[in-house]
């Protein structure tokens, strides 16, 4: 900087000047989505927060004039399309909406399996189809899709959830191979267990889940922020050394992972409960 204070923004400034950028955050009613929306709003982004939980959206956006909220179910393609038609193509999309009911594979009601796939996988497809064309036309954008470490290491009771998140991974991999050179940065975030309302509801039912290390949501968001400085094709974001080590083990020593995960949650009865992430 020179004496008169005229500087170009530093390379660390992922945050743009006020009012020049817009962000869409799904699952903004609670958990990771809520904190992500608040952090972006704090940094001066114009944020549109989306969830099916209207009360949760109200809490997230309280006293935040540059945050706007819409009740929208990402499982509904027309609703997502209409939303993006209304707000325009955002510069950054953080798609955190998802659900994670736990159930033994053979006992999970089929309509619940369908719902998990519809929200977690098709919800991702709907969001991507609504926002990516505009980002490609602009030649830039940041498209952050939330998957889960469960897509890499599948524990008992997570069959539908892990299958849907694995589909998100595959979809994101195809996207980055098709559009890796377009100027749009695509990220597929695979967090381990994160301290969110969804996880707290699961721990109430399965205290064993709470005995593993649980990551604060801020660390996941910090990892995403850092990942955006990396090259466009660097798709996966694995927050925390343990998640990276777990994925490494799964690739190179799958038997050890199997031994650990079989003990993680023991299947029981009447276990299905729908919970909603943010």
């Amino acid at each position: 900087m020179n004496r008169t204070g005229e500087t170009a923004p530093g390379s660390w400034e992922v945050v743009p000047p006020r009012g020049t950028r817009t962000a869409l955050v799904t699952g903004a009613g609670s958990g990771l989505g809520a904190l992500a929306a608040q952090r972006l709003a704090a940094a001066g982004w114009d944020v549109v927060g989306v969830d099916v939980d209207e009360a949760g959206l109200g809490r997230t956006a309280a006293r935040s004039p540059n945050m706007h909220t819409r009740v929208c179910d990402v499982a509904d393609p027309k609703a997502v399309e209409a939303l993006v038609a209304e707000i325009g193509t955002p510069h950054r999309v953080l798609h955190a909406a998802g659900i994670g009911p736990l159930s033994p594979a053979l006992e999970q009601p089929l309509d619940e399996v369908e719902r998990v796939v519809r929200v977690n996988y098709l919800g991702t497809v709907h969001v991507v189809r609504a926002v990516l064309p505009g980002m490609l036309a602009r030649g830039q954008g940041e498209l952050i899709l939330f998957s889960s470490l469960a897509a890499w290491l599948t524990a008992p009771l997570t069959s539908a959830y892990a299958a849907a998140k694995s589909a998100v991974n595959a979809y994101a991999e195809a996207l980055v191979r098709e559009h890796g050179d377009s100027g749009v940065k695509i990220r597929c975030v695979c967090p381990p267990q994160v301290d969110t309302p969804m996880l707290r509801r699961i721990v109430e039912r399965y205290p064993a889940v709470g005995r593993t290390r649980i990551m604060p949501p801020r660390l996941v968001l910090d990892e995403i922020d850092r990942s955006l400085a990396r090259p466009a094709r660097d798709l996966y974001v694995l927050p925390g050394g343990r998640a990276r080590a777990a994925v490494f083990l799964q690739r190179h020593a799958p038997r050890i992972v199997d031994l650990v995960l079989r003990q993680a949650i023991r299947p029981g009865r009447g276990l299905s409960e729908e919970t909603r992430t943010g």
Binding site: T7, W12, R218
Partner: protein, 226 residues
């Protein structure tokens, strides 16, 4: 009614500055700078403490926003414990600007305040219309056990000739601390000129710290009689 901040993150640095010009700078408040560092007895050589901090408020009663603080450690007029006098407090959102000025008399004004708290080195700039007032970078320190930072402090402020005291409670976690470790670059702004006058351009910090998660509570302000 106390105002609660449920989630904030902070990086800060403390600098030793000559006490006499620091006192001149805050004379308008009627408060006296604290000179806690043992050293030369001659009054002209005494050092006061200037604290600079940048804060990201994510979840709290004042909404989400970024803030930069220029504060001096002060001795309260009634002989109580050392407090922090907030000399300048730019923020980047309107709600907190109005609330801060009217409820506590904090010297808030609107600026662009880009903050990077995700990287190893935490950075912040304060800009007005694209012109940089200052930039602060804070290097990572060593992890401190829980509750290492001061849990209770009185914050002092002076707006429109009224000096106020605001009891301020903090619950930090993820605290890292180190000697030195901060770099301040001053630009073009009256406050930057004031800090330059204290010898802070390119100065070495006494210590710097980062707090990954900070919950806070601000009680109502009371007027301080001069």
């Amino acid at each position: 009614m106390p105002v609660r901040i449920r989630d904030a993150a902070v990086a800060s640095a403390m600098f030793a500055v000559p006490a006499a010009p620091a006192q001149t700078l805050i004379d308008y408040s009627g408060l006296r700078v604290a000179t806690p560092i043992p050293g030369p007895a001659r009054p002209t050589r005494r050092r006061a403490i200037c604290s600079l901090a940048f804060i990201r408020y994510a979840d709290g009663d004042l909404g989400p926003y970024h803030e930069f603080a220029v504060a001096f450690l002060v001795r309260p007029p009634d002989g109580g414990p050392i407090g922090a006098f907030i000399h300048w407090l730019p923020v980047n959102q309107a709600f907190t600007l109005d609330a801060g000025r009217t409820i506590w008399g904090f010297p808030k004004e609107i600026a662009d305040i880009p903050i990077d708290l995700a990287s190893r080195i935490k950075r912040c700039a304060v800009r007005f219309g694209g012109r940089t007032a200052l930039e602060l970078a804070v290097k990572p320190g060593l992890p401190m056990p829980g509750g290492a930072a001061a849990p209770k402090v009185d914050a002092y402020s002076c707006l429109d000739g009224i000096t106020r005291r605001t009891p301020w409670t903090m619950s930090p976690s993820g605290v890292r601390l180190r000697p030195g470790g901060a770099r301040l670059t001053l630009g073009d702004h009256p406050v930057a000129d004031e800090l330059r006058g204290l010898g802070l351009h390119g100065a070495r910090a006494l210590s710097s710290s980062t707090v990954a998660h900070l919950a806070m509570e601000f009680a109502d302000a009371t007027e301080v009689r001069r």
